[in-house]
């Protein structure tokens, strides 16, 4: 792996560690209160804190996961390097776009 990809993945991991811990705690709390749209959205709608927290989460994940998948494809499949890089970039965009859309869906849009 190139040095810059390595550093990007480790830095995004450092960011993700506390975010994931917080997310696990939030999941447990949310499940306890019952998973309905009303329950979730009443807490997230209009909240800047949620938007920043989960927006940052999505961006970090969009960096971290594709670099990991790229390494796995390189080591465990016979696919060509350029194809793997293209797939990793595409995956990053999918995570970023779908993720930020989801963050907007629960924090911004009134439905």
């Amino acid at each position: 792996m190139h040095r810059h990809l390595f550093l990007a993945q480790r830095f995004s991991a450092l960011l993700l560690a506390p975010l994931v811990l917080a997310h696990i705690a939030l999941i447990i709390i949310a499940v306890r209160h019952g998973l309905t749209a009303e329950e979730i959205l009443s807490r997230t709608r209009g909240s800047v804190v949620w938007a920043v927290f989960y927006g940052g989460f999505v961006i970090a994940a969009a960096i971290h996961a594709p670099i990991g998948i790229r390494t796995i494809l390189n080591e465990w499949t016979p696919l060509n390097g350029n194809i793997i890089n293209a797939f990793a970039i595409a995956f990053a965009l999918v995570v970023l776009v779908l993720g930020l859309r989801a963050v907007i869906a629960v924090t911004v849009v009134t439905g």
């Binding site: 979730i40 998948i69 849009v109 439905g111």
Partner: protein, 114 residues
């Protein structure tokens, strides 16, 4: 499999990698489901009612476990790569079993909330 793939730090590598693959597959699906809130709370509710199924609850528990395992094994990797090792020939293998126990504990707490 011979002894080269059954010792603790290899199993930790495998656990981290396999949980990462599972999470990478799950992540876009997760975002799509949340994005259903865009089309109104009703659609999200319909999806969330689906999550009442036992099989889905089991899958949720599985994902919480995978996320926890990936987190704790990942923090161990960060420790290995950012700090000096207390024991030169041991890649912090004493972190491995506690990581699994912590993930199991989170799994149990999650189950208790269901």
């Amino acid at each position: 499999m011979n002894g080269l793939r059954t010792h603790r730090s290899y199993v930790a590598f495998l656990g981290h990698r396999l949980s990462g693959i599972a999470l990478a597959i799950f992540l876009p699906i997760h975002f799509i489901v949340l994005g259903l809130a865009l089309s109104g709370a009703e659609n999200l509710d319909r999806m969330l009612a689906f999550t009442d199924l036992a099989l889905v609850k089991f899958a949720e528990w599985g994902l919480v476990m995978l996320l926890s395992i990936h987190l704790f094994f990942g923090v161990r990797v960060l420790m290995l790569e950012l700090t000096k090792w207390p024991n030169r020939t041991d890649p912090r293998s004493d972190w491995i079993v506690p990581s699994v126990i912590a993930a199991l504990a989170i799994g149990v707490v999650f189950l208790l909330q269901l």
